[in-house]
Symmetry: C2
Subunit: 342 residues, 2 copies
């Protein structure tokens, strides 16, 4: 079954309003989650809605919190989400940063006292749609071991960037810092397959080839060893250290502790190409870079080189035309969300 | 044999002046290269001096080029290195950006028409020593295949960040985008060892386990597959696309084509913590993050968790006290540099 986009957004909005979220914020959440599903990132789409409501109902998230400005200049902004939902706080902050970016070469904003903000890439893509190059990142509760460590000490800290093209829609890149996404482990577990050693550790820091450990507080390992570790620290530095959010163990899991304030931090940087040679030239140069990537000869069995974001844009376009197919887990969690607010 | 730091810097400066580099720029090059050796990054230390001179003598680098300002605002700067050496152009640009950062939350600068700028981390560390959080990155000639590709299409694009601590000196992270540094391949070749499949491809895109392919134009593969590919594109976007430098195949190898203008691009971002809660608080929070990392329990056989930069700072302190040990290759290349300018 395929969902019509507008209907699905309306349904998510209704559920949000039913959970006590002001309508304008519920609309924002529906927009972010459904767009993320349209781009094929189902792990960060409407599947999350029920858990947001669990947190609201358990007291860990204030559904009607109004973000507060902590500091502001012509090119910077520090916001507190005031213990509210991550998505509306991030959208409001991005909207204010986009206004600033119109007159500035580069602007930066942070959000603290926040919660899960969906797909990091959404906010970077928002800025790219307006002609800007942008970065978006968030910390999370500790999930990943530092290089040489055997306990989860640092978040899986998502990091994204996006930039507009001309004939191409542009670039969109969105990654987290673990070697393997938890989704891959869940699939391996369902298929009764073992995983290579080095993907995760057991909760007490032992090597394992059993993907079922993901259900028992397994410790994630960073991608490319010290490189993933260093990028995770970079995100922690921008979001938590600079952004005055919870750091490391100061961020609480919204999945494990729905009744507790997560104190997550986000950070955004927007660069305005008008101050670096002009928007049109920038878009043309992004196109030229993509052209050259696409022209690279491929490995045997590989049909084409993809640029970051290409698959996501294709899926979004298809979903807009043909409607959106949702995985079973998303359908179930959406039904559960509806039940929660009845 | 151990080299006294001051003597070594003077020697490198003399060689530079002998090659036609203005003294103040030769001093800057000596400072960057020797400091990099002190931090243990010998691949980017004085070993590079002879090749810079090869490029000067072959006509690919103008030793006395004066960087030109292409555009400037209170928080942005675009510089052309005018076909000169990368290191002095980068140092001059950073010095001007540091002045701007004193009054701004965030500033950004780019350098185009440049050449190899040594270790990316040096420029980020320069800003951290002044109390700022900073990023430094550069593109390079194509060395790495995009995911699914079998030819070198994109640079190994180094990326670095640094931030100051209080009781700790702070963070310094500096990586390139390939799975394995070429140094590791050179060592495996010298030891007559094979390498795992997936580290590199032969020049014509075939899998190989022979490290000697590094001498035959081997194609590097990105770390963590699409993640390293995406980070390489990010650096290309900031340095070349936005910075108006050579893009992708538009950058020429200073190692392979010393007579040709490389047209390399660099980009820098500096964030001033004074606008995000204050420098002292920021330093204390960096310390707190490091404390928590260091307290993480270690894997069996691992003595301690290291934070990004810890090894580099330790080596620098030791070299300052005890003098600097240089690898044989560095000693030989420095001798060769001296011969080149006699």
């Amino acid at each position: 079954m395929k969902y019509a986009i507008d209907e699905l957004k309306k349904r998510v909005t209704r559920i949000g309003v039913g959970a006590g979220i002001p309508e304008e914020d519920a609309v924002r959440i529906a927009e972010v989650l459904v767009t993320t599903d349209m781009r094929g990132i189902h792990s960060h789409g409407v599947v999350r809605m029920a858990r947001y409501i669990d947190c609201i109902q358990a007291g860990g998230i204030r559904p009607d919190a109004v973000p507060e400005t902590l500091s502001e200049t012509a090119s910077s902004l520090q916001v507190s989400a005031a213990g509210g939902l991550g998505i509306p706080a991030a959208i409001r902050t991005m909207n204010r940063l986009l206004e600033k970016a119109a007159d500035q070469p580069i602007v930066m904003g942070t959000v603290n006292h926040s919660d899960h903000y969906g797909a990091a890439g959404h906010y970077a893509a928002m800025a790219a749609e307006r002609g800007y190059l942008a970065f978006s990142m968030s910390n999370t509760c500790p999930l990943v071991a530092p290089t040489g460590g055997r306990a989860a000490a640092i978040g899986n800290n998502p990091f994204a960037y996006a930039a507009p093209g001309g004939k191409y829609r542009g670039l969109l890149f969105d990654v987290c810092m673990s070697k393997v996404a938890s989704g891959k482990l869940i699939i391996a577990a369902a298929d009764h397959k073992s995983i290579p050693e080095g993907w995760i550790l057991t909760h007490d820091g032992k090597p394992t080839t059993d993907p079922n450990e993901i259900w028992k507080d397994a410790v994630m390992l960073p991608f490319a060893e010290h490189k993933g570790y260093g990028f995770a620290i970079m995100v922690e530095l921008m979001t938590a250290v600079l952004g005055m959010a919870g750091m490391m163990s100061g961020v609480h899991s919204w999945n494990m502790l729905p009744g507790r304030d997560a104190n997550t931090g986000h950070a955004f940087i927007i660069v305005n190409p008008a101050f670096f040679g002009g928007e049109e030239l920038f878009r043309n140069r992004v196109d030229a870079m993509i052209d050259e990537l696409k022209a690279c000869p491929t490995l045997e069995g590989v049909r084409e080189i993809l640029y970051p974001g290409e698959l996501e844009w294709r899926r979004e376009t298809a979903a807009l035309k043909e409607g959106l197919e949702l995985p079973e887990a998303s359908v179930q969690e959406l039904d559960r969300a509806e039940t929660l607010v009845k």
